[in-house]
């Protein structure tokens, strides 16, 4: 459950002047926003004065999430992990969409490193008006050679703005790498065996504040003790990595859940850190062993990427706050990035666009009228398709409470009453010389109701908005002509 603090607990620490400088009408309203994580302490100018120093500290402590928010990166790009307060997204929302990192081996040639780094940085998959991207680069010391490692880090830092994770279990190698790295890096990893040396390296270089240290163990108690030791030595930005087992992912899921539940429900602050998982282990596992997908494809690399995506999806559902993967193909990344987008959507905000009339292209009085819903995904998909296919039309966006076509048809929001209201409010009747509405095929069953309530003629269109262009090219002139012949005599 979320932390049991109330608006009053927060209000007590505020200046209570109701100065409105935070943008809220009162300190009480600001307190409510702080509780919901919709405002930050910094927005109150009075709290920033020396007189309120102590209250400010108390407030930050009070509001700090049970899972610490940890970041690495540079001024231009940061990878932010953790910050969560609840076990289940419906209880509040999950924060900081899981950063996804892709590995680069230091055994690659300079050119290969450069091009892979660029590819990672430039990767984009656009959905619902949002550009989904990859978040960091993991430079791994595959060579065991310090010079190659340093070279790879230099290239990546020079060629990209990506946050960097450096991977080696050898504290001496990490030490040399830390000397040259420019940004705040994530270090993978401290284990039971090298923990003391890793701490020593970080302290020697006075990088306690410039490093995120990954603690790796498949034993939760050990992770807890490792965290306690780091904290005692001033290393406070920690990430927990409880082993990713591709041959029985249930083991990793258990470890993730035990860590998260200890942090949130048992308030164990030593386990209150983000969790890193390694779907990349599934990639290499599937490359060399049988996995469920093996029998279906001859290409081992395809199998490995599919299995990696499967494991990534599984872990995203159970508290993975950061992931390291290997595959870069769009077909592998699409489901991972889409799932992340879905899980981290704020359930407190409706996913809706403003209902109303949207002219697409340059519609005139002879252009078709198409009726869709205000679910943002539907809207962006439809307008994206129309743009690609040069569709010209009047798009009526109905308020279905942010529900998709099929869901709102079943739920009763996609109906004649709502359509009538929309037609009246938008004045679409004055903009066209016909009374025809094209419905998505998924809403075919509402045709009678909409015709009855609005008096407009409904034509059932296509199942998918990508087919609308072709549908209109083939049918619109005829539909319009037939309607006019029938109604304008």
């Amino acid at each position: 459950m979320p932390k049991k603090i109330s608006v009053m607990d927060i209000y007590k620490l505020l200046p209570k002047t109701n100065c409105k400088k935070c943008g809220q009408p009162s300190c009480m309203a600001f307190a409510a926003k702080l509780l919901e994580k919709e405002a930050t302490v910094d927005q109150c100018p009075i709290l920033n004065t020396p007189k309120f120093e102590e209250n400010r500290k108390k407030l930050i402590e009070l509001l700090s999430p049970p899972v610490k928010e940890v970041w690495f990166g540079n001024d231009k790009r940061k990878a932010v992990m953790g910050g969560d307060e609840v076990m289940y997204r419906y209880q509040l929302s999950f924060f900081n969409p899981t950063p996804i990192g892709v590995d680069i081996s230091d055994e690659l040639s300079e050119e290969e490193i450069k091009s892979r780094a660029k590819e990672i940085e430039n990767f984009t998959f656009e959905r619902t008006g949002e550009k989904l991207k990859l978040d960091f680069i993991v430079i791994r010391n595959a060579s065991g050679d310090i010079e190659k490692f340093k070279k790879a880090i230099e290239i990546v830092e020079k060629e990209t703005d990506m946050p960097i994770c450096i991977a080696s279990l050898n504290p001496e190698i990490i030490k040399e790498a830390l000397k040259i790295v420019k940004s705040k890096v994530m270090v993978y990893a401290a284990t039971k065996d090298n923990l003391n040396d890793m701490i020593k390296v970080i302290k020697e270089l006075k990088k306690e504040k410039d490093v995120v240290l990954v603690l790796s163990s498949n034993n939760v108690k050990e992770l807890k003790n490792m965290a306690a030791k780091c904290l005692a030595n001033g290393i406070e930005d920690l990430v927990l990595e409880p082993y990713t087992y591709p041959e029985n992912i249930a083991e990793t899921l258990d470890l993730n859940v035990m860590i998260r539940r200890s942090a949130i429900e048992k308030e164990d602050k030593y386990l209150g850190f983000p969790i890193l998982n390694l779907p990349i282990n599934a990639y290499y596992y599937a490359l060399n062993n049988d996995c469920p997908i093996s029998t279906f494809f001859d290409n081992k690399e395809v199998v490995a990427k599919m299995y990696e995506a499967t494991i990534a999806g599984t872990l995203l559902n159970r508290y993975a706050d950061a992931l390291i993967i290997h595959g870069l193909d769009i077909w592998e990344l699409m489901p991972i990035l889409t799932l992340r987008q879905n899980i981290y959507t704020d359930p407190r905000k409706p996913q809706a666009v403003e209902p109303g009339l949207y002219p697409i292209g340059n519609p005139d009085e002879n252009s078709p009228v198409i009726l869709t819903t205000n679910f943002s995904l539907t809207f962006y998909t439809v307008t994206g398709d129309f743009e690609k296919d040069n569709v010209t039309c009047w798009l009526l966006v109905m308020d279905t409470g942010g529900k998709a076509v099929d869901v709102s048809v079943a739920g009763g929001q996609y109906n004649g009453e709502n359509a009538k209201k929309l037609i009246e409010e938008t004045g679409i009747a004055d903009k066209v010389n016909h009374r025809i509405i094209i419905l998505p095929a998924l809403a075919a069953s509402t045709r009678g109701d909409i015709e009855d309530k609005t008096g407009w003629t409904c034509v059932v269109g296509t199942r998918d908005s990508s087919q609308v262009g072709e549908f209109l090219r083939k049918n619109w002139d005829r539909i319009l002509r037939e309607w006019k012949e029938k109604h304008q005599k």
Partner: protein, 406 residues
């Protein structure tokens, strides 16, 4: 004047400073200062070096000795919860000894939320979708597996069982839809009889989605499969659910209760079905599966809440859950031919796998699916959930990826 008890004499400040210059450090104990007017002015004195710990540390650091603070060992207990409720177990099929066709499949029966608390007794089950008529509209990555059997539902069912390890089969009596072929309930029942002969796994019996016709089709099919403990799919408030409830009780079947992503609606539907005479141990809930990217987060919330409330003891929602995972292949990212997105024969199964896995993590017990690749993957991951911690030998070196050849 300062009394120096080693010298047994009084010293002035100048001689004191001289000593400091020589030794770099003095300790002054029990000092008595007597003066009429005390002016201490040490402008000419060298800086008094008081050794400070950071300096020592710096010096040690140069020599490579860094102090690492140890902490006493901390204890940790696995966070195991006590649950007052449980999830009901629902059985499909009947053993031959009880007059059934042999194969028995059970779902549900969980007493805890997570494996480390208590592994679930039954693995998640996959039921293969088949149709009573050819479905040329299915995307190619799926059609390729079934092209040769689409004309014959019995062969289709056999292939799913023999080649792809189906635990169960879902027959969709699509052609009973008045707008498609308007086949009669009697014709559907005839096919049902043939199917029961063709394979020995339990069945999910689906209609066409026509609310007027479905109760009649389900009733007719329920009658011919009496005692086989099928799942009648589905009862909802849009149709004559009483008829379906009656058929289930009369002919010994289970009922799929379908609602729309709202735990309260699911609860309400269950209550109405029970009031209509349905045994609550014969209900499987389908709170609607929205595909990945098409509102799956709504399904996540509904299913998680239902499962949590069931385990908390709400006896109106502690039924096992079903997911129409096949919905995933309706997502354009799955089926659409688009070179920018890479080959769809990889994309489509991954979309279905990711949708199914997500539902599995929310507690779903029964998966209705189409693609053999996704089915196999989901079944194996599902099986893992029923293993005891440590049961499967783990050989993976967690750090091999660091040094792996690219």
């Amino acid at each position: 004047m300062i009394y120096n008890d080693k010298l047994g004499d009084f010293m002035d400040l100048n001689s004191l400073i001289k000593i400091i210059e020589k030794v770099g450090k003095i300790e002054i104990e029990n000092i008595q200062i007597t003066a009429d007017e005390l002016i201490i002015n040490i402008p000419s004195a060298p800086p008094v070096v008081i050794p400070q710990t950071p300096l020592i540390k710096e010096k040690l650091a140069e020599e490579g000795i860094i102090e690492i603070k140890d902490v006493p060992e901390l204890d940790w207990e696995p966070p195991i919860e006590k649950y007052t409720g449980y999830i009901r177990e629902v059985q499909f099929g009947k053993p031959k000894s009880e007059g059934g066709r042999g194969k028995v499949v059970k779902i549900g029966g969980q007493k805890a939320l997570y494996r480390f608390e208590e592994p679930q007794p039954n693995p998640p089950v996959v039921t293969f979708d088949i149709f009573d008529m050819p479905m040329p509209g299915l995307p190619k990555p799926i059609r390729q597996f079934f092209q040769d059997v689409m004309e014959d539902p019995c062969e289709w069912a056999k292939k799913c069982v023999k080649e792809f390890g189906a635990d169960m089969i879902t027959i969709h009596h699509i052609s009973t839809d008045p707008k498609i072929k308007d086949k009669s309930p009697k014709e559907a029942a005839k096919l049902m009889e043939d199917l029961l002969q063709a394979v020995d796994v339990p069945f999910v019996i689906g209609g066409s989605g026509n609310p007027q016709k479905d109760p009649l089709v389900l009733e007719a099919c329920a009658e011919v499969s009496e005692g086989d403990r099928c799942l009648l799919a589905s009862a909802n408030l849009e149709l004559d659910y009483k008829k379906i409830v009656d058929a289930a009780m009369k002919y010994d079947h289970n009922v799929l209760a379908w609602s729309i992503m709202d735990p309260n609606m699911a609860r309400d539907l269950n209550r109405k079905l029970i009031e209509a005479g349905l045994d609550p141990n014969r209900i499987v809930m389908d709170p609607t599966t929205c595909a990945l990217g098409y509102g799956i987060e709504f399904s996540i919330n509904a299913m998680v809440r239902l499962r949590l409330n069931g385990l908390k003891g709400d006896e109106l929602v502690n039924m096992p859950m079903s997911s129409g995972t096949t919905n995933a292949i309706g997502a354009r990212e799955a089926w659409m031919n688009n070179p920018e997105w890479g080959p769809r024969e990889y994309r489509l199964p991954l979309w279905e796998i990711t949708t199914g896995i997500t539902m599995m993590m929310c507690g779903v017990d029964l998966f209705m699916m189409l693609n053999p690749i996704s089915v196999k993957t989901l079944k194996e991951i599902g099986k893992a959930l029923t293993t005891k911690p440590g049961e499967v030998k783990l050989n993976t070196n967690n750090y091999e990826w660091i040094v792996a050849k690219a």
